[in-house]
Symmetry: C2
Subunit: 416 residues, 2 copies
């Protein structure tokens, strides 16, 4: 089970006819129970161009943080991103959300709309409205409901994505569940702090939990978790305008996690682990990807510098092609690192691929290139690279995938 | 003719055996005539990791700017980049340069070394030394010498690259000539000003002129010209550590171009035009490229903001695949633009592909997608996109190329 494992949640999937394939395209996640126990949090794309649901979602988030009641439900559609649709798109998103609110007996403004799919086409509101009775009627708990919701939000995904965690905090058994989608346009840079806007991507994740905590505490925990998970993956370093991670807490597995408490910190750690799990599932399903590779950068002045270097490496087409070709091309990795706009001393740099050090103090270790453990590391489904750039405390990782001819055909044969 | 068209230059190419193909791999450009009429300038990669010749070249440039005599020659080898070779690599670069100086009767430190090719292997100094008699013996003027030098510096280039210009300044006929190489690892960010380091790439360009001007004036002109030409192209947004543009002026076509004069400004304009010509030749020969596309961004707050937006668009794998597939995918272009870390108002944005406006004030122009002129523009060997992001004065263009399955095979089949 995933999103309906935590107490107080039901889910369903349905078909509104938004996908050319005719597959299910509408998901609903509903929180039941008293609002005063509940909390909601969300982080959205940092792109300068955003879809209508992101505009609506940001308004709702501001309301939660201002003390308004937590959200009751999330309505997600695939097949149409409701982006580049102007003011009409915002009205459409609100109309669909309010129709759901009415049907589940919740007040207007208590349902969060979320959309993914083709850009620049009006949201087919009537089709969505027409599908709501079946969708609401199918709301239930259990693996089938979880799977139906996870299936409905898929676009170019080859496999549905979900995860769950359990943890005991303050004597109470707390559950977290999640579903996610994403395959192309993956390089999330969710706005989790004051950093300037940066690449975002079409990834959606919806997390439920029965933990009891405040809106601000849940938001802070989600933002920190997303910054070190979804924001650390890249398939193609291309932005979308719809990135969204939403977390609904029912609060039905008390006691309350107090601000600054060890229990709250423990909850955040589990939430971060859940987000990492989902983000790695997204990269593994990257368009045309045959394998993933993780670049761990150590010794930078700070974490942000390390992240920028790691990001440059995982996004280099030449490095991605080398990974695809199973070539331990240390030169491409080191020159990509040098390109991040972070100055470092190559004479202090070293690179390890798997267990094998291939570059040390600015020089390749020629004999290492013949090490059978290096070939083994390059042939693994997940290639691990560790790059040390100095003696600083800054450390960060990025997870990427290889670049294949299939990626090109998937995206060159596509027609607007 | 190219590099030997200006008065006071000879050139030659030879084979030292540095390329597995056995093709010519050594080029020499020599300036003759009095040093007091001459000038030299150079710009190098902004990468944090640089090859040995860049270290040596930066020292020489500092000497010119400090009033030391202009350079007498440039020795260029392909097949080995002499990068990631440590202190020994610097000694090797200087040894080869000094061997040339001795042979042409020039003082030590008057010859600039430049290298491109495989990284992390010791420069085969003995082979280069052994080839110098033949190389120096072949020094001459004329199309054959120009072609021999242009051929020798090629790596994955499919075609040699050269250009020339003539202009009359202050009654004197002034010539400029140039050769260049570059195909992969192309996204030059030559350090032309105080901007932070950013992507560089394996591109080399060598420019000669018989204009008479000072080292500082030539350096300023070259830096400004490179910033708006070589730094405006990208094949794969991947850095190398060897980017170099060198300009040698013999001063034999006087009169002196005085600092701040209209003649000097006119010279810089011709130099910039020459650099644009070379940089466009490089993109057109990009690895796996079947066509190029230019993104002109207008209405940004300043030129740098416009350049960052244009750079984001030409480097997006999804946009590059759309260009390859001849798909007028306005959504990928607009979302890429939104990803540059430059905030703009989509409601003020518009996008034109060829003569057809496909996006206006945040909305697609649906009927435009059926316009036959749009299909014509997407099928052209050079696709022109104009993106307006606001009402500011900032304007800049970037030139990129499409992403093909051949790019992947070229770079995935490569082995270190």
């Amino acid at each position: 089970m995933s999103i309906t494992q935590p107490l107080g949640f039901r889910a369903a999937g349905a078909t509104a006819g938004l996908k050319p394939s005719g597959k299910s395209d509408l998901a609903l996640i509903v929180r039941d129970g008293p609002d005063d126990l509940a909390a909601s949090a969300a982080v959205f794309t940092a792109n300068a161009v955003v879809g209508a649901p992101v505009v609506v979602g940001r308004r709702l988030r501001a309301a939660w943080l201002a003390g308004r009641p937590a959200a009751r439900a999330v309505l997600v559609n695939a097949g149409n991103s409701n982006a580049a649709t102007g003011a009409a798109g915002i009205r459409d998103a609100e109309a669909c959300a309010d129709a759901v609110a009415q049907r589940i007996g919740a007040p207007p403004g208590s349902v969060i709309p979320s959309s993914t799919g083709i850009i620049g086409r009006p949201l087919p509101v009537d089709r969505i409205r027409a599908a709501l009775p079946a969708l609401a009627g199918a709301l239930t708990r259990g693996p089938d409901a979880d799977a139906a919701a996870a299936q409905a939000i898929m676009t170019t995904d080859l496999v549905p994505k979900s995860a769950s965690r359990q943890v005991t905090l303050g004597g109470a058994r707390i559950s977290l569940g999640a579903i996610a989608k994403g395959s192309g346009m993956i390089a999330p840079r969710l706005q989790c702090d004051a950093r300037p806007p940066a690449p975002s991507a079409t990834m959606l994740a919806f997390i439920t939990t029965d933990a009891r905590l405040s809106n601000p505490d849940l938001h802070a925990a989600l933002a920190r978790a997303a910054a070190r998970s979804f924001n650390r993956i890249s398939v193609d370093n291309h932005p979308s305008c719809s990135d969204t991670v939403i977390c609904l807490a029912s609060g039905q597995a008390g006691p309350r996690l107090a601000a600054g408490s060890a229990e709250l910190a423990a909850f955040e750690a589990v939430l971060a682990d859940l987000c990492r799990d989902l983000s790695e599932q997204i990269v593994a399903d990257g368009e045309g990807a045959t394998r993933v590779f993780r670049v761990l950068v150590r010794g930078a002045d700070d974490e942000l510098s390390a992240e920028r270097i790691a990001r440059e490496v995982v996004n280099s087409p030449l490095v991605k092609c080398a990974i695809h070709g199973r070539d331990a091309n240390w030169g491409r990795i080191v020159t990509a690192a040098g390109n991040a706009g972070i100055s470092f001393n190559p004479d202090l740099a070293s690179l390890r691929i798997g267990p094998v050090e291939v570059y040390r103090q600015g020089l390749p270790i020629v004999e290492a290139l013949g090490d059978p453990r290096l070939a083994q590391a390059m042939n693994a489904p997940r290639v691990e690279c560790a790059l040390t750039v100095g003696r600083g405390p800054g450390e960060a990782w990025m997870l990427g995938c290889d670049l294949s001819a299939r990626y090109v055909s998937i995206n060159a044969d596509y027609t607007t």
